[in-house]
Amino acid sequence: MDRRSFLKFAGISAGLFIGGVSFGKGSINLPKPSPKSPRVIVIGAGWSGLTVAKYIKKGNPSVDVVLIDKRAHFFSCPVSNLWLVDIVPLEMLVHSYLKAADTYGYHFLQATVIDIDRNKRKVYTDKGVIDYDFLVLAPGIDYDYGRWNIKDPKELEIARTKYPPAFIPGSEHIYLKKKIHNFEGGEFVITVPPGLDYRCIPGPYERATLIAWFFKKNKVKGKVILVDPHSDPPVKAKGFHYAWEKIVNGYIDYYPNADIKYVDVINRKVRTEAYGDIDFTDGNIYPPCRVADIVYKIGGVKKGERWANIDPLRYNLIGDERVFVSGDARNQPFSKSGNTAATEAKYIARRVLASIAGRDIPYKPPITLCYSAVDENKAVWVRLTYKYEKGQFSFARVRTDENPSQKNFKAYMAWAKAYYKDMLAAD
């Protein structure tokens, strides 16, 4: 059975319902390059998972690679802020998983992962059960509303549906775009999570700047209210302040050092230590982040922590040499961004191949390169390289260009398109 036939089969397979969740009955039998080929399953087809899958297969075509994601198509979180305000088309962000799988020679399985049995090395999905020899978890993030005291189920539902954070691609972004375009005036609040372990550190600042630019361009009688627990944007602060003063002046109010205690999504108030209650007409509530549920479910998170408990250099779950965690799910203090995930993923692919071959490889840290647009044709960037010494990570080199320019914007677009070509064989 080839991949296409399999997918067709998987789509119509009947499901069982056990313990409140349903999963497909029977084993998923995908063809392997040879009967003895080891199988690597990669869960999560974001920037990390796609890169891991491609480079494992490229590094050793005899390895069977299965990439699993619940989504049918790729939707890029990087660059999505530009799509929200019509600077780039949707076609730039959405790509085919099957084309990537066909081009690079691995299997793509559209399925929802229900559970993993690490002893039996089995992944349970809604389409059936599949065995692995090695597993790479790249499931990304989930939102941790509890840290802002949004715990009531009704409030949680409103927060997720009415004010989606839109840092997990797909429908959240679509709904946010609709809200931005339908906004008729008032205060459009955007919250920034605390700390540095949220997805895309400059993302909320870029988004706030571009929405303000969109309001200004369309003469909307409203402004963006940016509520930030940090004292200043942690990266590219000079570039963002330049934009707020010179490009979108009057369309954005910045509230730094706002220790957010609670967001009242019913009465539309952000409760802060520094400013009291900040009212809003509409908004984009981005709460603190944590690793996706599946990592918790398989016991991959230490009590009281929010990210995968992995070896910082080898990326395997502590105590399990066959399960690796990559991308934003990791616990190392790297920026949670597409570029970081993709550069790291090439190292993880080599590490998995080395594990299959029973050897070791030297550690190579990832690289963060992050562009942010400040209007329809100007951008700034920051580039971070890392090193590991005496049990600690630190920056090896920090470079930034915080002067908004067209050449940076062109580089931003080239950066993204090249990644889509590499990960997804995009045209």
């Binding site: 090439k346 050449k407 090249a418 070509k421």
Partner: protein
């Protein structure tokens, strides 16, 4: 000759020299062999004396669409030719994700000794798409950034008069990935992928700054 004519000429020159090429699959060896004369824009041979120090030149080799950089780096360089062994040439396809110069812009280019780069020194080749930095003094090796491989080196030779020839490609070339990743751009520039993949029998050399409208540096 303008950029359009230059591309057209390269396309017309693209004929396979049967019996003079060979391919190798080993990344550490010579991956392509084929002696191709380099020509000035006026059609006369491009001589080693035509090379101005620190000025990056572009020519296409071994395929009509695969750009190469030629530069005198001003000091002895690994594999360099000329009096000071300072003239070197590399495939100007970034080994990371295959960025390359087009007539409208280039993100990958040479930085002279007095320019700054991401590694706080000049005399480098840097790609601003994902910020990989390569050392033209050391065979195109990666100094910094996400690239896993050095730039492929273009082997040069001269005749008795000092006229220059490209004679081979050494190291892991990126040609198949380049054609795969850039197929829509190449179709636009050359009319078809087939034309973009034609092997040249001679190649015109021009200053990179005249070939491309904008050199984007970072």
């Amino acid at each position: 000759m303008n950029r359009r004519d230059f591309l057209k000429t390269c396309g017309l020159m693209g004929l396979l020299i049967e019996g003079k090429i060979a391919f190798s699959h080993s990344p550490s060896e010579i991956s392509f062999k084929g002696r191709v004369p380099l020509k000035r824009e006026d059609g006369r041979p491009f001589n080693i004396k035509d090379v101005k120090r620190y000025e990056p030149y572009i020519f296409f080799y071994p395929y009509t669409s695969t750009p190469c950089i030629l530069v005198d780096v001003g000091k002895k360089a690994e594999g360099g030719i000329g009096k000071g062994n300072s003239i070197v040439s590399f495939s100007l396809i970034c080994s990371h994700q295959w960025a390359f110069p087009t007539p409208s812009e280039t993100f990958i280019t040479y930085y002279g000794p007095d320019e700054t780069s991401l590694v706080d020194r000049g005399n480098v080749i840097q790609c601003c798409v994902h910020m990989s930095v390569f050392d033209p003094l050391k065979g195109g090796e990666v100094i910094d950034g996400p690239a896993d491989y050095p730039l492929a080196r273009i082997l040069l030779d001269t005749d008795r008069e000092g006229n220059l020839y490209a004679v081979g490609v050494e190291g892991k070339d990126q040609f198949s990935e380049f054609f795969q990743a850039n197929r829509s751009t190449l179709k636009r520039l050359y009319g078809s992928l087939q034309k973009a993949k034609e092997i040249v029998k001679e190649s015109r050399v021009m200053r990179l700054k005249y070939y491309t409208k904008e050199e984007i540096k970072c």
